[in-house]
């Protein structure tokens, strides 16, 4: 294993080195770095040109310049851009913004995409499956920048305007309810009557829910409250138990319900305790939650101890997430007032000079992240959906799945234990492959939303024929791609022991 990692890293270093040569030389050849100064009229033109030539070493040939840059890199110096600013400092500022965007989009796309893919594989050739397939094709064909501009216009600007008087129009309620009903109807297997029933239930629940949100003007001052948190937490407990342990055993169910109960009881007092926490404190609380849930699962699990621990920990973490969301939403109306009623941001990665407590600052990042992430998710979402669907279909057709069914295992065990685990093996390679695409997408998204991230640094460097920022962008992204690829290989070998890392 260690030998494999060392060897892989060794090869990767050479591959990256070769790539830096290509990129450096091509960037340096892509234009005239003095073009803007040549146009300029003024007495100090010659002087400016001399200063820039000296700073960028334009007097020496490109290979020598590359070697100088490489020497700097090896001693930890990323060089200066043509204005003389340190690239390391620019990169430091840009990195966190881009990282937030890329990580948020990748994680969301994976969660949603894999879930939808599996469901559509399990309901192959249903209405839901066809709709998902068609949507995936649309997503493959959507230009990202176009979508981003559309989101900016119709979600941000119109949504902000709508927030002043957040009443949902009856036609919107009708349409959304119908879509909800159709989704549930399409997901149901069985007779015409069963489908119609789930259509009716799905539509009715959505209609009542939306009417309630509209009537109480929930969007003006959102929040969950103890009752909703409790309902969602107990629902999660039952769902998670059904998925990971089955409902026929009492132990795991009691453990998960206990976790949900503790969480709900705490949700009433938590907001008072979490007035202005730090991320570190929250992380500590999360660890405490996990520890308590492990204890609950261990104590109440009985014979199904392992499944009980899984179920209660997942329930506990989801409930903790709900409490966090509730606190965040409670801060929304104050935040919205501070933003003069236009909370969903369209430009930048945070409001300049914004100060406030933890919740305000987190909301500020979240509202800025919302639209770029939505746009960026879309490119990988379709890929994850299609691949996990194909992979799941492949697995469901294997002999060991037939064997599992033949020996009388419940369908839940067949899918979760036998099919799902094996179906996810090919997805690991996709993660690495997809990551490169998301980075490219981040450049486009940042450009639309005016983020001062790495994409901006790269484009600015390219426009001004300045290799240093371009190279910094590549070192980070290329390095990330190499590491992602290696992690995918290791994960692959871990999931499929037949593969040896050598």
């Amino acid at each position: 294993m260690i030998a494999f990692i060392a060897r892989r890293l060794g090869i990767s270093v050479f591959v990256l080195l070769a790539a830096t040569i290509i990129i450096y030389v091509m960037t340096a050849l892509s234009g005239d770095p003095l073009a803007d100064l040549r146009q300029e009229q003024g007495p100090d033109r010659e002087e400016k040109m001399r200063v820039r030539s000296e700073r960028m070493n334009l007097d020496v040939p490109i290979p020598v310049r590359y070697l100088q840059w490489l020497g700097g890199l090896l001693s930890g110096d990323l060089g200066v851009n043509r204005e003389g600013q340190s690239v390391a400092i620019i990169l430091g500022n840009a990195l966190s913004a881009t990282l937030q965007l890329v990580v948020a989009a990748t994680v969301m796309a994976m969660l949603i995409g894999i879930t939808v893919g599996i469901i559509s594989a399990l309901r192959q050739y249903s209405g839901f499956d066809y709709t998902v397939t068609f949507m995936a094709f649309i997503a493959f064909s959507l230009p990202l920048f176009w979508l981003a501009v559309m989101l900016k216009q119709y979600i941000a600007i119109e949504f902000n305007t709508w927030l002043r008087d957040p009443v949902i129009d009856p036609p919107v309620i009708v349409v959304v309810s119908l879509i909800s009903g159709l989704t549930w109807g399409a997901l149901t297997v069985g007779t015409q009557k069963a489908r119609l029933t789930s259509f009716a239930i799905g539509a009715a629940v959505a209609a009542v829910f939306l009417t309630f949100l509209s009537a109480t003007r929930w969007f003006a001052d959102p929040g969950l409250g103890t009752v909703v948190i409790g309902l969602l937490a107990f629902g999660t407990a039952v769902g998670v138990t059904a998925l990971f342990a089955g409902l026929q055993y009492r132990g795991p169910l009691y453990a998960a319900l206990a976790a949900a109960g503790v969480g709900t009881a705490l949700s009433a007092v938590m907001p008072g305790l979490l007035v202005d926490p730090t991320w570190l404190e929250l992380f500590g609380l999360l660890l405490l939650t996990v520890a308590v849930c492990v204890g609950l699962g261990y104590a109440l699990g009985g014979l199904q101890r392992r499944q009980a621990v899984t179920a209660s920990v997942l329930t506990g973490v989801v409930t903790a997430g709900l409490i966090f969301m509730d606190a965040l939403l409670n801060a929304f109306s104050a935040y919205s007032r501070r933003m003069r009623g236009r909370p969903i941001a369209t430009i930048g990665s945070n409001t300049p000079n914004f100060r406030g407590d933890f919740w305000q600052l987190t909301l500020d990042s979240a509202t800025h992240l919302l639209l770029p992430t939505m746009a960026l998710i879309l490119i990988s979402l379709a890929t994850y959906t299609r691949y996990s669907r194909a992979s799941m279909l492949e697995v469901m057709n294997q002999d060991y799945v037939r064997t599992a069914r033949a020996k009388g295992l419940p369908e839940r065990t067949v899918i979760v234990k036998h099919a799902f685990r094996n179906g996810m093996i090919p997805i690991t390679t996709l993660i690495a492959f997809d990551f490169a695409g998301v980075i490219g997408g981040a450049v486009v998204t940042e450009s639309v939303f005016g983020w001062k991230g790495m994409g901006n640094m790269f484009l600015e460097g390219l426009r001004t024929v300045d290799p240093a920022p371009v190279m910094a962008f590549f070192i980070v992204t290329g390095g990330a791609i190499v590491i992602c690829n290696m992690l995918a290989d290791i994960l692959y070998a871990y999931l499929d022991p037949r593969i040896r890392l050598s």
């Binding site: 990256l16 064909s141 501009v149 216009q153 469901m396 190499v482």
Partner: protein
């Protein structure tokens, strides 16, 4: 060639069994694929519309306006297209702020975007196929060199290398841009072809060809490549669909097609600021990009099903 073989047992049951060649089977399956046929129809319609309406090269089009001529802005430049009852009106897609007819602009943009995309597809497919088959067939140092080169190219995010290439070639016209982009996005296809060639070269028919002294060139082109045709055609199609999106993204970022050339992405970038006052300037090029990419993706899907019908099997 269609052979009519009437097997006795089939005849007895009143069936005629028709023997079909591989090509005929593939064509039949492709033409029965509804989504692919719809895609093909839409794509052909767009190509014909784009190239005949405003003319191409020395040929004049039937549309009354040109993409360069300005005019007086009528009614704020609103689009005059109505679908029911159908009428084009004076400016079906509206006008921009200096009175250029937007239909002519979008048609010209679609022409150039299609040209770039097809160029990229052809170049990438040719290079990818050559590299893949050479490195797969000859192994040893040919493979080592070509595959290390592919490894290097795959480490670089496509958008990064494409943006640099676009910055270098964008100013020299769309032909150069298409060729240059094709030269940097072939590695995926090259790997795919190599994998196929690697498995084919161990097969008996290749061994037999080698045993009777056939030259490598003939083996590659006559024995191996025809068997990889399916994979090559499918990935060429998908490469073209991706190239449409890549070109428009580059043009949007300002490192793709440069004025005086027009492309769909460049139109969106150019009129992005007019989103609030003249939203149609933003809508039309986007709709055309989606329509082109979607129809090519559907064609690719149909081709994949036609070449490899095993994927279509209904599974338990």
């Amino acid at each position: 060639m269609t052979l009519s073989v009437s097997a006795p047992s089939g005849d007895a049951q009143g069936m005629t069994i028709v023997a079909r060649t591989q090509g005929q089977l593939v064509r039949r399956r492709f033409f029965q694929h509804k989504a692919a046929m719809a895609g093909l129809t839409v794509l052909l319609a767009i190509v014909v519309l784009a190239f005949t309406s405003v003319g191409f090269g020395p040929f004049d089009g039937w549309w009354k306006y040109n993409w360069t001529q300005t005019g007086t802005v009528v009614n704020g430049g609103q689009p005059t297209l109505t679908l029911w009852p159908f009428s084009l009106g004076e400016h079906p897609f509206g006008q921009d702020n200096v009175g250029k007819d937007y239909f002519a602009l979008v048609m010209r943009g679609a022409q150039q975007s299609l040209l770039v995309a097809f160029l990229v597809g052809i170049v990438a497919t040719t290079v990818g196929t050559l590299v893949g088959s050479l490195s797969g067939y000859f192994r040893k140092w040919t493979e080592a060199v070509l595959m290390r080169w592919t490894d290097v190219m795959i480490t670089i995010p496509v958008l990064l290398i494409a943006a640099i290439v676009g910055r270098m070639a964008g100013g020299s016209g769309i032909i150069v841009l298409g060729l240059a982009l094709g030269l940097v996005i072939w590695p995926q296809l090259g790997r795919l072809v190599r994998g196929e060639v690697l498995s084919l070269r161990e097969r008996e028919f290749v061994e037999a060809a080698r045993a009777i002294g056939t030259r490598p060139r003939r083996i590659i082109f006559k024995h191996i490549l025809p068997n990889t045709l399916g994979i090559i055609i499918v990935s060429a199609t998908l490469t073209i669909a991706n190239a449409i999106l890549l070109e428009s993204a580059l043009s949007f970022l300002g490192v793709g097609v440069q004025p005086p050339d027009i492309s769909l992405g460049q139109l969106i970038s150019f009129y992005q600021g007019a989103m609030l006052t003249r939203p149609w300037l933003f809508w039309w090029p986007g709709v055309f990009i989606i329509a082109i990419a979607l129809s090519i993706n559907f064609i690719g899907d149909g081709l994949r099903d036609a070449f490899d019908p095993r994927q279509n099997r209904v599974r338990a």
